[in-house]
């Protein structure tokens, strides 16, 4: 059986966005986004412009999964942070439970600042996500409860 779906309510989504917005400001980052370890983008904040955040989310998750695999081979549980520094743009990824906090920054910021600010919001995001994972689904009308075969067929017409 597949995992239980993640259901993100409107209020929770805005709470996450608010945390990301503050982190982005405090760390002078270009873009901040939160990704699930499976590669699903949860929320994004910042100068997205032409940035393909969907692909970036998937690749960030692949990157963390691959380095996590390396960590285990050398007897570590995982590598909690990853940084990639480019000539102008850089990426910092923090692993927070099953979430990845991805910060894209340029020369307006520094790796040290991004690391510090990411660490400061990690707990807050973990708590928020725990709440999301534990909240029941009873108050939500599933958009799929009454989905018909015609609805599904129409997607492919």
């Amino acid at each position: 059986m597949a995992d239980t779906p993640i259901l993100l309510r409107e209020q929770q989504y805005h709470q996450i966005k608010a945390v990301l917005a503050r982190l982005r400001m405090d760390s002078s980052a270009r873009v901040v986004f939160l990704v699930d370890k499976d590669g699903q983008e949860i929320a994004v904040q910042g100068e997205v412009g032409n940035l393909d955040t969907t692909s970036l989310a998937s690749l960030a998750a692949g990157n963390v999964a691959a380095t996590g695999g390396m960590a285990q081979l050398i007897g570590e549980k995982e590598f909690p942070t990853l940084s990639h520094e480019g000539e102008r743009e850089s990426i910092h990824i923090s692993v927070i439970g099953r979430l990845l906090l991805v910060v894209v920054f340029d020369e307006r910021s520094s790796l040290g600042l991004v690391k510090l600010r990411s660490k400061q919001v990690a707990q807050q995001l973990a708590a928020l996500f725990e709440e999301i994972a534990n909240s029941g689904y009873d108050d939500l009308d599933s958009p799929f409860a009454e989905i018909t075969d015609e609805d599904i067929d129409s997607l492919f017409s």
């Binding site: 059986m1 597949a2 995992d3 690749l59 599904i152 129409s154």
Partner: protein, 194 residues
């Protein structure tokens, strides 16, 4: 893992194409990519070696349309087929919502198909999944080649649980969308069950 965002009214699901090396997983994705309207797709990311063998994965987001007011997006992944990339294959199965097994219909690839299918079951088990309970489609690819096993025999050999079997020639698109539709339908039907 399915992700439903009530704020942006989006739903994302993950489909993985699995199968032995050179069976046509990437070709399936490439065909979907080439025949989809630009606004419905993202980039096709292919992490391949210089000789076009998939190294880590191929990825493409595909937006199918709206169901009950929710934008429905499928994230399509392929795994590297070659035996020695098993670590990457395991990682990509994480959070999977539906699987397509692409079998190579050529006689000489029967053992590779069986080995890969066994490997799929093992890797799913390692992630805590059971193939018997996941949305699943069997695609018999390369039906245009001369030295192929009759579809019925091949399906008899590889079919696991009465899953839909689609005959395909991924290089010209035959059966590619039928396969995607068959797996997407099962994933959405799973969601209906809740």
């Amino acid at each position: 893992m399915t992700f439903i965002n009530y704020a942006s009214r989006e739903i994302n699901c993950k489909i993985v194409y699995y199968g032995p090396g050179l069976c046509g997983k990437t070709t399936n994705l490439q065909y979907i990519f080439d025949s989809t309207a630009p606004q419905a797709k993202g980039k096709l990311i292919s992490l391949a070696t210089e000789t076009d063998r998939t190294l880590f994965f191929d990825f493409m987001p595909l937006e199918l349309g709206t169901v009950r007011g929710f934008k429905t997006r499928f994230h399509l992944y392929t795994v590297p087929g070659q035996v020695f990339y098993d670590a990457s294959r395991k990682l990509i199965l994480k959070g999977v919502d539906g699987i397509v097994f692409v079998a190579d219909s050529q006689e000489e690839r029967i053992d590779a198909n069986i080995e890969s299918l066994y490997n799929l079951e093992e890797n799913l088990k390692a992630q805590g999944y059971d193939l018997m309970k996941l949305p699943y489609v069997l695609q018999l690819n390369k039906r245009d080649l001369p030295n192929i096993i009759p579809a019925q025999d091949l399906a008899g050999e590889l079919q696991k649980k009465g899953e839909p079997v689609v005959e395909a020639v991924a290089s010209n698109g035959t059966g590619v969308f039928d396969t995607l539709k068959a797996v997407a339908k099962q994933v959405l039907t799973e969601l209906r069950k809740g």
